[in-house]
């Protein structure tokens, strides 16, 4: 038994009080939600502009038809993968320290996966054409695979968030008497008459286990298929057989960073220092080092193999990356967003909550720009030269509407996480109690 689950011994009442405290609609929440809503409305105005005038309001054109929308989509899918790693892989390996943060990881996963699907729609000038994927979709098309796995992953993540939360929802139903009526009703119906009977626990554990097994291949396929959207083409920079694992390993880096940031905010704002301890940050930091190392390894492969062979198109692509047009962003992302952070986290003081969170913010930002580097430069180096086209088409600069719509996707994620974290306890109460009993006995 490790010592990280809780600090010291806490009574069950204390635990209930501490962890249910955040389930309320306080003033800070209203202020924060109000801010998010206003920002979202501003961004939605730009989306209205795009709907009315078409994709012409973006910086996209015939050559770069996938800009920051698709980069953002890849980033969102990547970040959502952490739910699988933390709750499923580590959970099934009985790595006990992840239990208090598993729900946070699952929240991040659900929010990012849900919005990822929406981002695809913003990339379409005619959103109604999405129906064509279902009407005329072909089984051979990676886009059809992508739609199938994204929808499945959202469903499975939502179930994996919900089912292990049943005892806590029942607790909310029983203990929270001062919440609005609709909320009480919601707890009542969502708790499915949970009564803490042994059979209920048995069933819950069985279904959770099934989901934990199912989510591993689904999560791997969602990001592998996302990588195949690129890798199944013959474009230099995308035409790579290791794109699947390359994307998956990169996803864990982004996801770890996102979870660390979320942990820090919940720990400070919800006063959960006894439940999400410095030790959790230390261990998440170590996990981040591990996944970052794997990702660095894949990055080296992605550059050295085509760079060494240097066939015409790949050589150009590698050249642009290493010392050409995209080199500034490339080195900032690779060194600043990946190598230096992971070297820093190797030192224990850097794995303390605040430094680790700051480093994670940088890693997450780096991960976002890394997706831009994967998506955009390849399109600017077509096999046929770019000629007899408007001047702006030799480059790509996102426009204000494009940036606003991308910001909107982040606002949506924050809103989903905020609402869910206000409706339900973010740390699994029953698991903490169970652990405590285990320790006391």
């Amino acid at each position: 038994m490790n010592e990280t689950i809780t600090k010291g011994h806490l009574s069950e009442e204390q635990i209930d009080r501490d962890l249910l405290k955040n389930v309320n609609w306080g003033g800070t929440f209203k202020l924060w939600m109000g801010f998010l809503t206003v920002s979202l409305i501003i961004c939605l105005y730009y989306y209205y502009q795009q709907l009315r005038n078409g994709l012409g309001v973006t910086g996209l054109h015939d050559y770069v038809s996938w800009g920051i929308y698709i980069s953002n989509f890849v980033f969102f899918v990547a970040t959502s993968l952490i739910g699988m790693l933390v709750s499923s892989v580590l959970g099934m390996m009985k790595v006990d320290w992840v239990r208090p943060v598993a729900r946070i990881a699952e929240l991040v996963a659900v929010a990012f996966a849900m919005v990822a699907g929406l981002i695809i729609i913003t990339d379409m000038g005619r959103p109604d054409r999405l129906l064509n994927v279902f009407i005329h979709g072909r089984v051979q098309s990676p886009i059809v695979w992508d739609i199938a796995v994204v929808v499945t992953y959202v469903a499975i993540s939502a179930l994996l968030l919900y089912i292990p939360m049943l005892p806590d929802i029942a607790l909310c139903r029983d203990k929270l008497n001062n919440v609005p009526k609709w909320q009480q009703k919601m707890y009542k119906s969502l708790s499915l008459g949970w009564n803490n009977t042994a059979k209920q626990f048995r069933l819950m554990n069985r279904y959770t286990r099934m989901l934990l097994v199912l989510i591993i291949p689904i999560a791997l396929s969602i990001h592998t298929v996302t990588s195949w959207l690129f890798a199944m083409t013959l474009r230099s920079g995308w035409d790579s057989p290791i794109f699947g694992p390359y994307f998956v390993s990169g996803a864990f880096v982004a996801g770890c960073a996102a979870v660390i940031i979320a942990m820090y905010f919940f720990r400070n704002n919800y006063k959960l220092k006894n439940y999400i301890t410095a030790d959790h940050f230390d261990r998440m930091g170590k996990l981040l080092v591990l996944v970052a190392l794997v990702y660095v390894y894949f990055n080296i492969n992605e550059i050295i193999v085509p760079g060494y062979k240097a066939n015409t198109a790949d050589a150009k692509h590698v050249h642009e990356m290493l010392y050409g047009h995209d080199s500034v962003m490339f080195w900032l992302v690779q060194l600043g967003g990946l190598v230096i952070p992971f070297l820093l986290i190797l030192f224990k003081p850097m794995r303390k909550p605040l430094p680790l969170t700051l480093i994670s913010v940088i890693v997450l930002a780096g991960a976002w720009f890394k997706r831009v580097l994967i998506v955009v430069p390849t399109q600017l180096a077509p096999y046929y030269p770019i000629q007899n086209v408007p001047e702006g088409w030799t480059g790509y600069t996102p426009t204000t509407p494009e940036i606003a719509i991308t910001v909107a996707s982040f606002i949506l994620v924050l809103m989903i996480i905020t609402v869910l974290a206000k409706l339900f306890p973010v740390v699994p109460i029953w698991e903490v109690k169970e652990d405590m009993n285990h320790k006391n006995n």
Binding site: V139, W145, I156, I163, L192, N195, L203, M204, M210
Partner: protein
């Protein structure tokens, strides 16, 4: 002193030579009288103009430019625009002679073009002159026969058989040229002369690619003096081309029909399998509700 005088004479001589040479270069190009009066044995028609244009664009444009555009290459002496007055003032025979023999920077085309092809070029140059009327020899008493042609293919010896008639009588010594019409212009199959039975044979390469049934579009011209005839016919005499779809075979992604069975099974079994498991769990939630009264 004596030496000095010698130098003067040499310099004077050189100057004189240069002057004479310069005058010579700018003097009119003298064409022999006989050549100057030579008349085209063909009647200039649209067909000849079209062929002359192709020949002109391949061999003449680089110096003379596009006729009537005055965009010839600046050279000394200037090549000039063939649609211009000085060119059009010449006789047909003079143009023919100059193209054929060449002089100075104007190349000799005798080896590049046969006489009829040279006349095509003259016809093309004349087509820019609205006032031009072709000068014809004295035709009194001469009847220009109207040719008819019959084409067939002898597959035993791979020869195109051309029979030339005029009012049902076979015509000997008629020049016959056969072409295969392609998408981008025509390709010469061969040239021959009719024998006393009015028949000409043209070799056909049996590996020539035709359409799915081995058909090619054959064009045959028969000319003798001012008598001309032309037929175009689709004939089965080439190798049949088997057409393959550019997207067949391994290209599984091309059309819905190309979806391989293993992919369909993998996709649908995985998707339905996973969703079946999810629905199983969702319906299983009722069991959790039922289990609330059991210990």
């Amino acid at each position: 002193m004596k030496n000095n005088k010698g130098y003067h004479i040499i310099i004077l001589f050189c100057l004189c030579f240069l002057a004479v040479a310069n005058v010579n270069a700018q003097s009119d190009w003298q064409v022999p009288v006989e050549a100057n009066e030579k008349l085209s044995p063909f009647l200039f028609d649209d067909d000849m103009v079209l062929e002359g244009r192709v020949a002109y664009e391949n061999s003449c444009t680089s110096c003379h430019g596009t006729p009537s555009q005055d965009d010839f290459t600046p050279m000394s002496p200037p090549p000039g625009d063939p649609a211009s007055e000085p060119f059009q003032a010449q006789s047909d025979g003079s143009m023919f002679y100059k193209i054929k023999t060449g002089r100075g920077t104007m190349p000799k085309f005798a080896d590049a073009f046969a006489d009829d092809e040279l006349w095509n070029i003259v016809a093309y140059i004349r087509s820019f002159n609205e006032n031009y009327k072709q000068e014809l020899p004295n035709m009194e008493g001469i009847v220009i026969p109207e040719y008819a042609m019959k084409l067939s293919f002898d597959e035993n010896v791979d020869k195109l058989v051309v029979k030339v008639f005029a009012e049902e009588l076979p015509q000997p010594e008629v020049s016959v040229s056969a072409y295969v019409m392609g998408t981008f212009g025509k390709h010469l199959l061969g040239k021959a002369q009719t024998n006393e039975l009015g028949i000409a044979y043209v070799d056909v390469d049996p590996t020539l690619p035709g359409d799915e049934e081995g058909r090619v579009n054959v064009m045959v011209k028969a000319t003798k003096g001012f008598a001309r005839a032309k037929v175009e016919e689709h004939m089965v005499m080439a190798k049949a081309t088997e057409r393959h779809s550019a997207i067949e075979g391994r290209h599984i992604w091309s059309t819905d029909r190309m979806a391989p069975i293993w992919l369909k099974i993998t996709f649908f079994v995985s998707v339905f399998g996973v969703w079946f498991a999810l629905l199983f769990i969702v319906f299983g939630l009722r069991n959790i509700k039922k289990a609330r009264k059991e210990a």
